[in-house]
Symmetry: C2
DNA sequence: TACGATACGAAACAAATCGTTTCGCAACCA
DNA sequence: TGGTTGCGAAACGATTTGTTTCGTATCGTA
């Protein structure tokens, strides 16, 4: 549905199905230049301040090329984010669900800790008003994240690691809410100290 | 600092000091018309979509009048919000700090539950990118709220009601984070059921 | 009552932004 | 070589934003 998803589908298709296309192929150089320029510009300005024109100028690319491949600014920024190395690094195998959750929360805080934290907060914010932005942000970032956590919570409840009395959605909010709230209210306090103490504490709160 | 604060200062001055001013006084009719129009329009559109022009048109007022008294859209919306009756209703006297916290959280959820929830979420969002919006939102809404909760938390820790091992900031994030996270990720689930179950559960988590 | 000061609303303003379209050229496949 | 698609530059119309101008209205005070 979202363009970011379509991007992946395209790439997946090229693996699964050859899908021979005629005509001039898409320029990989332009694509990477656009994503690089986007990430670079986001170091100095907000998502709101960022304009497609600025991206095109910095990437030395026509505006047309950007609008042809992405539906809007949100989609470009989202793609630029996930294109960064280390973002979708796999987690080591945990020995139980509590440890799994701790690792997931730790990874989340790491992701929000750096320069990307602001950007993600701004995408989350944009999603509040804009329906298209919401679909892209949810589908690409939030839903996969929450689904993974939901899985660990439910497995942990089955295994009697976590209190079964707790509603799953409530548990998710308890685990993730404080992280995002701190990100948006006091981002400077989303630091290594928090990352080291919070996940254990949070998981302890929902443990049996 | 903020215009909303200045507004209050003006009103406070008119109580404390007569502060006789010459010239035509500010039109109370225009002011209320602007705030009413803002609240009315916010029922049908987002803060982003809302324009000063639309407010002026609906309130049958010149754009000039709005820009003269408020620095930007955020300030108008914030003033319109707090001008609503029942927003700053005082809380009954609690018998302990746990009960105080529960009442505060209940009140917060009530506030975010109705039509104002979306608006507040959007103001919070706007604050992520815009520094002026951040100052207005923090100074008028967020900081007073968190200060009150911080007070109850610290008092409760002194009284041994709550775990002293918990960092105050961490406790605040644990209490408020899930509420705002649900508001921004699954607002439809910020309902009466949540309001009845969450505050007790949250306070229980930080209790000794 | 007249005057100075300030507020009011309508209108016009420049500047910026947005997504689209047009165009000539480039790159690939059959 | 011909057909097809991607590329980038430029210009476009439509909006939006906050400011300024201007004539009028409403207050306190001389």
């Amino acid at each position: 549905m979202t363009q970011a998803a379509l991007q992946n589908n395209d790439e997946n298709n090229s693996e699964a199905t050859p899908a021979i296309k005629k005509g001039r192929p898409r320029s990989a150089k332009s694509k990477t230049a656009i994503l690089k320029a986007t990430n670079s510009l986001l170091l100095h300005m907000s998502v709101q301040e960022l304009s497609i024109e600025a991206i095109a100028k910095k990437a030395k690319v026509g505006k047309t090329t950007i609008y042809r491949w992405w539906p809007n600014k949100t989609a470009v920024v989202m793609d630029a984010l996930i294109s960064q190395p280390g973002i979708q690094s796999p987690l080591p195998t945990p020995k139980n669900n509590a440890e799994a959750l701790i690792m997931q929360l730790d990874k989340l805080i790491r992701m929000l800790n750096g320069n990307n934290g602001e950007t993600i907060a701004q995408l989350f914010s944009e999603a509040q008003a804009d329906e298209k932005a919401k679909k892209i942000f949810s589908g690409t970032f939030l839903t996969p994240l929450l689904d993974a956590i939901e899985f660990s919570v439910e497995e942990g409840q089955k295994a009697r690691e976590f209190r079964a009395s707790l509603d799953t959605k409530m548990a998710i909010d308890l685990l993730c809410g404080p992280i995002f709230f701190r990100l948006m209210s006091r981002p400077e306090e989303l630091n290594d100290d928090f990352r080291e103490t919070y996940p254990k504490e949070a998981v302890r709160l929902i443990s049996a």
